[in-house]
């Protein structure tokens, strides 16, 4: 019942915050958002699942009750976590609280609506990462979009309306493609499944019970559905060439919303790819290994090159997210224990690190009201603590050892180098590793120009250090990143336990 309690508490908190006056909303939202944090940490401490939820492993905190029956299919309220879901739940709760606190300074109008929507989004994100019934999962998945649309559209920058509608249209069309692909699979399974329960569908698909549908043979149906779902999730991740909504959304969104967008929402895409495409249809995935690895590498390199060309600090971090997500895809397609495990770990690491980057860029923006690299220099002089944290975060992004990013990327490279899904995997890995060099290039360049040198910024007011409530979330994130870098096993153990059952294919094939 703890998962239901977690989601319900967050929903109630969202409504409570919506109804209080604006001046109290930020503090109340932060206080109430601590409840899910405590709940998720309690879940972590009592976690007892083994194996993967979709391949017959035991699931922690599981509940399953029938919801309704429709044309022979039972829809269940089925939630629970395994070693893949739990780390993402913890990431969501922690990042939400920190994002809410970091919003105290920049959000200065309609606060109660803002924080209400943030909590509403958190509740739905928790649902996405815990749902084990496709229908329940889909409801939460779609419900995440609504608050995001408003958060960008109401509190965003000058081109916020365009960015919000672009985000909404892209992700909704993607959802439609994914939905049709999945439902076609369910129909193709015919009588072998009687519910939309994800473990049951996964078992049936892995057992090869897919039949033909409307004259389409099973093999074609599976490939087409795989592609439809892959494209649907690829928009969310995002993978080049479906990434164009991301920089617009990030640049226009207020920084706390960018934190959630990069930190958690992008992980929905990779989480869904892992859960659906790579878990349920491993043969199809390995058959498509070359094109998938190729677009992963293209995402890494092209995203990094785009970041190199930007002048806006937020755009730099946004494009580098495209690049980092490419690593995750590379790790997933490797189908080795380090590859898939590292990819899952990288979801957490990147969530924390990109959250830290966006948050510290936001803090600087609050003080300077510009994000353009050319407009400022020598910020270290005026904002030493923020600068220090930003530099540390950037090194985390570059994969400095003893930080979470290093662990994630190291596991991915190790795993994908060893992978035998296609004989070209070492080549792909080597190409992707080149991305690290570019990351170091653009981050160091941007930092050198903005943070160091003599102070220069044209303002009519004095720029001083950030407030305490702006610095604390940054420090908390940095500490978490270092702790996970030093002791990745806090999560990596359970992640490996959950991904190992997926590896009957891949590594040993061909």
């Amino acid at each position: 019942m703890i998962i239901e309690a977690l989601i319900a508490v967050t929903f109630v908190a969202a409504f409570a915050v919506l109804l209080v006056p604006n001046r109290m909303a930020g503090r109340l939202a932060a206080a109430l958002s601590l409840l899910p944090v405590v709940g998720s940490l309690y879940m972590w401490s009592r976690f007892d699942a083994t194996g993967n939820a979709l391949t017959g492993g035991s699931v922690a905190f599981e509940t399953m009750t029938p919801w309704l029956e429709l044309g022979g299919y039972t829809l269940n309220w089925h939630v629970g976590v395994d070693g893949i879901g739990l780390p993402l739940v913890v990431l969501t709760t922690i990042l939400s609280t920190l994002a809410i606190v970091s919003a105290w300074t920049p959000i200065d109008e309609r606060q109660s609506q803002f924080y209400g929507l943030m909590l509403f989004m958190e509740a739905n994100l928790l649902g996405v990462f815990t749902a084990l019934d496709f229908f329940v999962w889909f409801v939460f998945w779609e419900a995440v979009l609504l608050p995001m649309y408003f958060l960008i559209g109401v509190w965003g920058g000058p081109r916020r309306k365009y960015a919000a509608i672009k985000f909404f249209v892209y992700t909704n069309i993607a959802s439609l493609a994914m939905f049709i692909g999945f439902i076609a699979l369910v129909f193709g399974l015919g009588d072998s499944v009687s519910s939309l329960d994800m473990p049951a569908i996964s078992a049936a698909l892995r057992a090869g019970e897919l039949g033909s549908l409307y004259g389409i043979p099973a093999a074609t149906l599976q490939s087409v559905a795989f592609v439809a779902m892959f494209l649907g999730f690829a928009v969310k991740v995002p993978i080049v060439p479906f990434h164009t909504w991301l920089p617009d959304a990030h640049v226009e969104a207020p920084s706390p919303v960018s934190v959630m967008l990069a930190g958690v929402l992008l992980k929905m895409g990779t989480y869904a790819l892992l859960r659906f495409n790579f878990t349920m249809m491993p043969e199809t995935a390995t058959a498509f290994a070359v094109p998938i690895a190729l677009i992963a590498v293209i995402s890494v390199i092209y995203g990094a090159m785009l970041a190199l060309a930007q002048q806006d600090l937020k755009r730099i971090v946004a494009y580098s997210s495209v690049s980092s997500m490419g690593y995750v895809i590379l790790g997933l397609i490797a189908y080795t224990t380090y590859g898939v495990g590292g990819a899952t770990f990288q979801m957490i690491a990147h969530g924390l690190i990109s959250g830290l980057m966006f948050m510290s860029v936001g803090v600087i923006y609050n003080a300077t009201h510009t994000r353009m690299v050319g407009d400022m220099s020598g910020m270290a002089d005026r904002m030493p603590v923020t600068t220090g944290i930003l530099v540390a975060g950037a090194f985390g992004y570059m994969g400095l050892p003893l930080m979470a990013g290093f662990a994630g990327e190291f596991f991915i490279f190790k795993g994908s180098f060893e992978s035998t899904v296609t004989s070209a995997m070492p080549l792909f890995t080597a190409a992707a590793m080149f991305g690290i060099v570019i990351v170091a290039g653009y981050l160091l360049l941007a930092m050198q120009r903005t943070l160091f040198g003599s102070f220069r910024l044209e303002t009519d007011y004095e720029v001083g250090p950030a407030a305490l409530h702006e610095t604390v979330p940054l420090a908390v994130l940095l500490v978490t990143i270092i702790v996970l870098g030093v002791a990745p096993d806090l999560f990596f153990g359970m992640i490996q336990d959950a991904v190992n059952p997926l590896l009957d294919f891949g590594g040993d094939l061909s």
Partner: protein
């Protein structure tokens, strides 16, 4: 549970209808005792109380299995039939009537003829409830007129407003023509079968012999009558004017309850009187007719809605579009197919639609009360002034568009899904495409309210409490129908399956 009819007299099964009718009479009585007083609270209160008690009784009967376990209850020689379907629709009518009465309390403030307004609403609701339980073509016609005549007067209620009067006249003229067509259709069917009772018609229509052509024309004419009542193509063109010109609570009432009433009677007449197995082999393929009407209606409604600048008119066309979705319940039928499941899903959609559409029109009523303006631009930045009401409107808009996590998502999903199960995947595909397109114009309202900057300053004045409560009730129901959809759709499907048995 013991069937109720063993404890109560059989006529008590029509209690939901009788309660609505009695409420109308009580309102007349109050008015004749005290004609000059303007006591909106008492009048609205009686009206709400009557509808809620009718709702409670209908809900109680549904739960107790009245007319479901042990077959439908037939009264007056079978001209009134109380079963799961009539009770299910009574729930829709009574809920909508209650919300509309509640909202009218503020809307009608400082207007004359208030008692007449409420009693006309109650009489129309009585007629609708009777339509849902009609077992013979004669009762169908009489109850249809009982529902329609008060509606004409209600649309023209704002008699100093040219739009309202024009709408009333247009509605009345189209209504009169379609009534004539409908009555003629009934007479042709009577000529072929020699009976007005639905079950007798079903028994003898198969042996129409040489009169197949006459029967076919009669069935098409009857379908035309339903197209009028449900605002479907080709008798839809009264709807945008009537919904736009009428007082907003009446637009809510007509576009939700009146439309559902049309479907209630169409479902029963076509499922019972013209059985597919008997009629289709004769060449009278009415499911195909409704399939064509469904596709045209939903497409036309959606495209027309997308081009509107006036929010109320947009909602009027969206209501035409939704008639198209509900028509799937009559279209995706085939001999031996899962007909009850399709029709039941359509009934469940009408219930959810009853709440979300009523709520949307009542929000318009609130905006009219505030005198904000009618176009999308006038709504710009409204959420800064009235966040809770705008949140409710957002729920209605997204639910009408079929987005999760609202009731409209699940009811549309169930409808399209059952259509696919019945083999009509192309009908579901057209519906899904239309539904996706509809997000465009529904989200315009949301965008205007929340994201655009206000063009001027708002002076909203005091909050209209009655409308506010009614809108919030509708919003909560729209949300609650997502988790509670299971029992709703099961009840609807078992009621519809009983018709085909």
């Amino acid at each position: 549970m013991t069937p109720l009819q063993t404890q109560l007299p059989t006529w008590a099964a029509v209690a939901p209808t009788i309660l609505l009718g009695l409420t109308a009479l009580v309102l007349f009585l109050v008015d004749s005792i005290d004609p000059d007083s303007t006591r909106p609270a008492a009048l609205a209160g009686i009206s709400v109380l009557g509808s809620v008690s009718s709702l409670a009784v209908a809900g109680w009967f549904l739960l107790a299995g009245t007319g479901q376990t042990g077959g439908a209850i037939e009264l007056y020689g079978g001209s009134i039939i109380v079963g799961g379907m009539s009770l299910f629709f009574s729930v829709i009518f009574a809920s909508v009537a209650a919300m509309v009465s509640l909202a009218s309390y503020d809307y009608l403030r400082d207007r004359t003829y208030q008692a007449e307004f409420y009693s006309l609403v109650m009489l129309a609701a009585t007629g609708m409830s009777l339509m849902g339980s009609s077992g013979s073509l004669a009762t169908v016609f009489v109850s249809l007129e009982l529902a329609s005549l008060p509606s004409y007067a209600l649309v023209a209620f704002l008699k100093n407003n040219r739009g309202s009067v024009e709408a009333g006249l247009k509605y009345f003229l189209v209504g009169a023509v379609s009534s004539a067509v409908f009555a003629f259709g009934i007479s042709l069917v009577y000529a072929v079968t020699g009976s007005l009772l639905l079950s007798d018609v079903a028994a003898s229509i198969g042996s129409a012999g040489d009169l197949v052509g006459v029967a076919g024309v009669g069935i098409v004419m009857i379908a035309g009558g339903f197209a009028f009542k449900t605002a479907s193509v080709p008798f839809h063109f009264w709807a945008p004017e009537a919904y736009e010109g009428a007082p907003a609570p009446i637009s809510a009432f007509l576009s939700s309850a009146s439309k559902a009433a049309g479907f209630a009677v169409a479902f029963r007449v076509f499922a019972v009187a013209f059985p597919i197995d008997a009629v289709v082999p004769m060449g009278i393929d009415w499911p195909l007719l409704f399939a064509v009407l469904a596709v045209v209606t939903m497409t036309l409604g959606n495209f027309a809605a997308a081009t509107q600048e006036n929010v109320k008119r947009m909602l009027a066309y969206s209501s035409v579009g939704h008639a198209g979705y509900a028509l799937i319940g009559l279209a995706a039928l085939s001999g031996g197919g899962p007909n009850g499941a399709v029709m039941g899903a359509s009934m469940a959609h009408l219930l959810v639609y009853g709440f979300m559409n009523t709520g949307a029109f009542l929000f318009i009523a609130m905006v009219e009360h505030w005198e904000v303006g009618r176009t999308f631009e006038d709504y710009n930045g409204l959420a800064t002034q009235a966040p809770v009401a705008c949140l409710a409107m957002t729920v209605f808009m997204f639910s009408l568009a079929g987005l999760p996590p609202f009731g409209g998502f699940l009811s549309k999903y169930a409808l399209f899904y059952e259509a696919i199960q019945g083999g009509f995947w192309w009908l579901a595909a057209v519906g899904a495409i239309n539904s996706a397109l509809s997000l465009f114009y529904y989200s315009r309202v949301v965008k205007a309210m929340w994201i655009e900057d206000p063009t001027g300053t708002f002076d909203l004045g005091a909050t209209p409490l009655g409308i506010y409560v009614a809108v919030l009730v509708a919003a909560v129901a729209t949300l609650a129908l997502l988790p509670a959809f299971g029992p709703v759709v099961e009840t609807a499907q078992s009621a519809a399956t009983a018709l085909f048995a």
